[in-house]
Each structure stands twice: as C-alpha cells, then as structure tokens.
Amino acid sequence: MTSVPTQAHRGARNTVRLRLDGWTVAAALVAALPAVPILSLALTALGGSFGGWSELAAYVLPAAIRDSAILLAGVGLFAAVVGCGAAWLVTAYDFRGRRSLEWMLLLPLAIPTYVAAYAWLDLTHPLGPLQSGLRALLGFTSPRQFRLPDIRGMGGAILLLGLVLYPYVYLTVRATFLAQSATLIEAARTLGVARRDVFRRVALPLARPALALGVSLALMEALNDIGASEFLGVKTITVSVYSTWVTRNDLPGAAQIALAMLLFVTALVFVERWGRRGQRYAASARNARPTRPMRLTGWRGVAAFAVGFTPVLLGFLAPATHIAVQAVKRLDFAGLSGSIIREVLNTVAVATFATVVIVALGAVAAYAARLRPAGAAPLLARVASLGYAVPGTVVVIGLIGPVAALDRGFAAAGGWLGVATGLVMIGSGAALILAYAVRFLAIGVGGAEAGLARTPLALDGAARTLGDTPFAALRRIHLPLARGSIAAAAILVFVDVMKELPATLLIRPLNFETLATHLYAEAARGTYEDGAVAALIIVAVGVLPVILLSRIGTTAAKS
C-alpha cells in the first residue's frame, strides 16, 4: 500500500463526520432510561382530558401541594438543625463515646420512612408499650385517664421523617467540618470572633454547600415517601398521585399531578444549586491542619453524649428495638411463615437482578464518558443520572406508557403467531427492573465514575498500545482497579432497591409481594402479623450501607 503524496494533504482537513461509535450509542441507550419516562410523562399529562385538569386543580392539587410544601419545609428545617448540630457536636468537641456516636448517628439511614412510621405508630399506640409503660409508671389504669397526643398528622410526619432523614445532612456537613482548616478558625478568632460564635460565623457559612446538598437529598427522600405520609394521614402530592391512579383509575390525572411533582423536584434542584452558589472555596482548605476538638469532661461530656445520642435513640434504637421484639414474638408464636420466606426470595431476586443491571449500565455510561470525553457521552452520563431526583411514583407513571406500548407490541406479535402473551413487560417483572434502573442508575454511574477517576488516563493508553480493545481494557484494567467503588455502589443499589416502596407497589407483577409491599399492606390494613419480621429484615440489611458509609467517612478523615 502506498502513501499519498504530501502535497495532497496540505491544508486539507479530514471531514468531520458524525461518528456513531458503539460506546456513544450504548451511553445514549442508558441515558434513554430516565429520559423516555420523563418525556412520556409530559406527553401523558398534556394528552389527558383537560376536563379533568380543572377538577384536580380545584379539589386535589391545592391541598396536596400545600401539605407537601409544609412537610418538606418542616422536614428540611428539622433535618438541617439536627444534622448540623450533631455534626458540630462530634467534630468541635471530644468526649467519652464520641467515636461511637460518630457512626451511630448514621444508623437512622437504615430505617426506611415507612418502617419508621410503622414502628412508631405501634410503639405509641394507646395500648402500645410506650403509653402502657408510662401509665404504669404514673399509676393510671386506663388509656382514658392518660394518653399522649396522637403522632398522626403533620407534626408527627415532620418529626418522624426528620428523625430518619437528618443523617443525609449530618453526613455531608460533617465531612466539611472535618476538612475545615484550623487556620481559618484561628484567623477568625484573632479577628475578634468569640469561641461560641465560631460555629455561626465561620464553620456554618463554610459548610453551606454541604448543607444545601444534604437537605436536598433528605427532601428528595421525603418527596419520594409514600408509606409514612399515608399511615400518618398526610395527603401529600405523592399520595395524591398514587390514589388518583390506583383508586380513581385516572392515569392522565395522576400524570398531571406527577408533572407538578416533577416541577417540585426541579425547584428543589435549583434551590440546591442556589444554596451552593459561588462555592468553590470549601475545597481550598485541603491539606490544611485539621481543627482540634475541644475536650469535654465530667458532666459536660455526659451531657454532650446524651444530646448526641437522642437522635440515634429516637431515629434508630427505639423503632429498631420495637421491631425486633415484635418480630421475635411473632416468630415464637407462628414460626417463619411460608409467605415471608417467599417474599424474602422475591426481594433478593429482584434486588440482585436490578443491582446487576444497574451496575453494568452505570459502568457502560461512565466508561463511555471516559473514552469519548469530547463527544456527547459525558452529557449522556449526566442524563442517565437524572432519575435519582425523580420520585418513584413519577418514574412509574412515566414508564407506564412506554411499557404498555411494548406489551401491546408483544401482544400483537403474539397474536400474529397465535400465542397469547399476556402483559410481558409487567408480568415478567421487567417493567419493575426498568423502574429501579431509572431511579437508581445515578448510583451505578457514580460508583463507576468514582472508581474510574482514580485510574490515570495513561493506563488506558498503555493497555490500548499493548493490544487491548476498549472493552478488553475495561475488563483487564478498569474492572479490577475499580472493584471497590463498584462493589460499594452495588451494595447501595441493592439496599435501595430492597427498601424502595412506591415504584414496587405500582408496577410489580400481579400478586408479587416483596418485604416492602408486605409491610405496606399490613400497615395499611392496620394488622401487625408478619409485618415486624419483614421490617426487621429490611432494617438489618439496611444497616450494611451504613457500615460502609461510616468506614468511608473514617478513611476520608484519616487521609
């Protein structure tokens, strides 16, 4: 083969063609997962009869929006105060038990909102252990003589959600407090800031981006919640979507409310951005000498521990212990029922399958962005991560259109072949896996990105020049090196899928029960049979990522 003479090339530019390479196409397919339901939701909402819009607007939406706004504001405030306070307590002060408290404060993360509501409702029932105990203590004999105020209602909902969601704020803010340089605080002291004002005037303003991030994560969870709000009788916008669809069988109406919810989420994301505005400076204090905590001894130390322990007690220990006691009673009485075993298997099966799918898709999207940093792939990886902010109910309403269309397609194909297919997508659980993928892809993408980011780009070059295709380099270099990050992401996905309630309720195959849906059904009926056992399993597995997070926290603090 001869080469072309030099003159022919002078001044010539190789034509810019749209190179549709496999990795970008794969990343686009992954990004379509969240993009398609969101677009479909908009279409369903706009295509619905607008006769229904006014009725909804008049009777459902205003109250639902008001309740959701109050709930979110309350939960946000509660989580911010408790989360920041706890973070400051364990970073600015040193006292007996501080190290244990550091990780224990994360424990409420293990309790899904609906489990917390389920446990507390039972715990504070007029005939439940808390009130009976108090009455015995105070010498009353009947609930009519003494009863605590009912936790059902807006106040109880804010308290309960706040108690299990504050760790998001604690986690992000504590990391910033740990990274804050002592010199900044010392500079403030020499400029006339009293020790008691350091928190308000230096530490907290510096932690504003972390606070914004933590609160927005907590609020996304609060907005996603369906069980707790419903059990506690708060008709949030999420509950309205569910009841409009399931009870009133009005899909376009549900889509319209869901669209309003999507606007809520968008507003939340913008508020978070605004909360972080102009914030690059938090990272400037890297490699700086960390702040030395102030030592508290004697009763001050005990008091500090007691204050820090309160959210752990109310957010984790009390509900978890109650669940454990109830579960043991139930197991003593009835043994492990067949239905629970079946539900555990169902839960593990869908969670495992979804985890494998999500981690693999996340790796594809993240690796495509690494291979083609100049193309569309990095943007596609961001699009793929969108679903994390979208509540499960909204995801499902968006998915139902495309999934139904696919099922019609299968049915038509089946009819043509003379086979009755039924609802392939929903019946097989494929639609459920899709919904999980949309919602939790961000974790898969993020985990793979974190793992890949630690590998220098030169390693890719070395592998390629030594004869590896991009896929071979992924298999031989990146997967072994990113193993830890991907495994961590897999655990988070697994636990999140296992806990996920709204999407599972709405799009699971007929008569397919998981631990979460079982618990929901019993709590909704007001029966407490195997519910405690299901709740205990969910909480026990939910502790896994907490251990993981606390380990990441300590290694980050060490390095």
């Binding site: 072309v4 003479p5 030099t6 090339h9 010539a12 190789n14 034509t15 070059g461 390629r464």
Partner: protein, 349 residues
C-alpha cells in the same frame, strides 16, 4: 527503497478549534531514533499520541511502514498498530505483578511462550529477579525499566517514548537513557523520543525535530541544529547562546560589542540578533575590547564559566576562563567577541 517506519503528512490536530499540531510532516526511517523536542505545550506529546492512535488527527495522514493508519477515510485503532508506548509516569498496571505487566501485550502467544518472552525482556533490562513484585515496590528507575520491557515485549515496529526520563534525577536519568537507547537499537525498532530537554534530545537522537506552537521548526542531525539553527527559535532553544541586538550598516553589523562583517542574508539597515556562545567570547588585556562586569561564575572542571554583564545589554553573556582564574564577582574584565555567521538572524520579519 524501504518505506519509512513512520511518515506524517500535514498532520493536524485541533483542540477547541485551536491547532495544537499544525500540518506537521516528517519521516522516521526504520531503526532510526528521532528526538522530538520543544517547550511544554508545543504539541510534541500530542504528535506522539497521533502516531500511536490514542488521538485521531483532524487533518493529514499517518503511515506506519508504508501503510496508512490514519487519514481522511482511514483510522486504525491503537491496538492494531503495533506501536509501543512508554508514558511519562510509566503507567504500570498497579494490580499486576511486574511479570504480568510485561506479558500484558503478548496475548497471541501461549502462556509458556509469553512467560519466556517476558523473562527474556526482564533479563535484558536487568530485572530478572523482580517478576513477582508489584510496581509500587520498585524505585522510579526500576519502574521505567519495567515500562520499557513491557513496551518492547510484543516486538513493536515503532517505540514511542513520552518524556521517559524526566521523573528520574539527572544522573540516574542519563544511565537509564544510555541503556534504554542501546536496547532499542539492539532490538532494531524505530523510536520517537519526546523530551523538553535540548541536551537530552541531541544526546539521544540520530536526528532531532524541534517543534514550536504545533509546528515543526527544524529537523536534522543534532550537529546541524546546533551549528546551523534555521531560525531564531531554533537558536533560542539549542542555545547556550545569548542574543545580542545589532544593526547592519554598510556591510557590517554594529553592536555594543563591536563591528563584524555581515553575512549576505541580512540587508543593510535591518535589525539583527547575534547569538553568542561561550567559545565566541575571549578575555583580553585591559584597554582592549569591551568592558564587562563579572556577575556570576560557576566552576566547570577545567576552568570557570563566567556570566558577564555589558552596559546596554539586557542579558549577561557567557565566557570561559582560560585555566584557573582568581577573578571575583564584581570585577571588571575585558572581552572581545567573534560571532559565528550562522548565528546571526534578522529580527522583526
């Protein structure tokens, strides 16, 4: 005639619309070692990545051994080009042992053959006993040798080296460089060595190519670039030379340091830059030549190198003392200069 190992024809690479490699054409003969030198950001590393296929050119063509591997309608992926690449920080795979690193590119061979080749390569770079260690257990020089063994194990036609000695201290770097070049020659690969160090470029390459702002400034044998730089940029780079401003008047060049015969390529009335090297400067008896104040001196073995500040010049010029010298900083010496015609360049064109 045998096709060149590497041929670049008007190769262009754009980043954000800016040409970081701008219509570069050059050939590397088989078994030739070419030094590619230039300041950081001049595009030399990008050129190496274009040859390896780690980047796609936006214009022009790349051929390896006569076969077009990148051009208007052709792009051969790096894994199919048969080039070896040594990265600045070596890019050893941290999760694999030294032996596994060296075997990495030997996928076509049986396990037995691959192990034999890897053992042979490790022996050649003097790391026979290191096969079971992991990269983080090795020193910088040892890591560099593993990278060399790994890149050469698949017997590449062309070896590309991106600043491979810059992370080693100077003395170790020179030793490793000598051994590396000897091994490349022994195995008969063509090589392109990227460096920012003119000394290293001239010491290593059969030929040297100088790049500046994405363009090829000059290419030739080391002595050609040193003796006859084609432009002020080349003279600046391979210097050890101080530019002195001057002007051509009546067939002579007038400078602060005296009058010289002008080379024909400079027109009357034109501004020039006269590049002076230490051998062009002689110390003279007081009363002769030009006065210069001694501002720096460094001992270079058989004498001193002086830095001499002449009134009216921005930069001090260099001179060598004859034998030992008892001059002290601040002394006023006298100098006489005799510039090299090849180092006089017109200014402002």
């Amino acid at each position: 005639m045998q096709a060149p190992a590497v041929r670049l024809e008007a190769v262009t690479k754009l980043f954000d619309g800016r040409a970081v490699v701008d219509e570069v054409s050059l050939d590397v003969a088989s078994r030739e070692i070419l030094s590619l030198v230039g300041a950081s950001g001049c595009g030399k590393s990008t050129l190496l990545r274009l040859v390896s296929g780690l980047e796609r050119p936006d214009g022009g063509a790349v051929s390896l051994a006569g076969e077009v591997v990148a051009g208007p309608s052709v792009f051969v992926e790096p894994e199919r080009r048969g080039v070896g690449f040594i990265f600045q920080d070596y890019a050893l795979f941290p999760h694999l042992t030294v032996a596994r690193n060296v075997r990495y590119g030997l996928q076509g061979l049986s396990a037995r053959e691959a192990a034999d080749v890897a053992d042979d390569m490790l022996e050649r770079v003097g790391l026979k006993e290191f096969g079971q260690r992991y990269p983080h257990m090795l020193s910088g020089g040892e890591q560099q040798r593993v990278a060399l063994a790994r890149a050469l194990a698949p017997k590449p036609r062309v070896l590309l080296l991106d600043e491979p000695f810059s992370n080693l201290d100077r003395r170790l770097g020179e030793t490793v460089r000598t051994r590396t070049l000897a091994l490349i020659r022994e195995l008969g690969a063509a090589a392109i060595l990227v460096t920012h160090d003119p000394q290293e470029a001239m010491a290593s390459g059969d030929r040297v190519a100088l790049m500046r702002r994405g363009r090829l400034v000059q290419i030739g044998r080391p002595e050609d670039l040193y003796d006859r730089p084609a432009s002020r940029e080349a003279a600046d780079f391979f210097a050890a030379a101080t530019p002195v401003p001057g002007r051509r008047v009546d067939g002579h060049i007038e400078t602060r340091l005296g009058r010289f015969r002008a080379p024909d390529r400079v027109a009357d009335g034109g501004e020039v830059a006269v590049y002076l090297r230490a051998p062009h400067v002689a110390l003279t008896a007081p009363g002769e030549g030009v006065e210069a104040r001694l501002v720096g001196m460094s001992f270079v073995g058989d004498g001193y190198e002086f830095l001499l500040q002449v009134d009216g010049l921005d930069e001090p010029i260099r001179a060598r003392s004859v034998g030992r010298n008892d001059a002290k900083i601040g002394d006023v010496l006298h100098i006489c200069v005799r510039p090299d015609d090849q180092l006089i360049f017109p200014v402002g064109l």
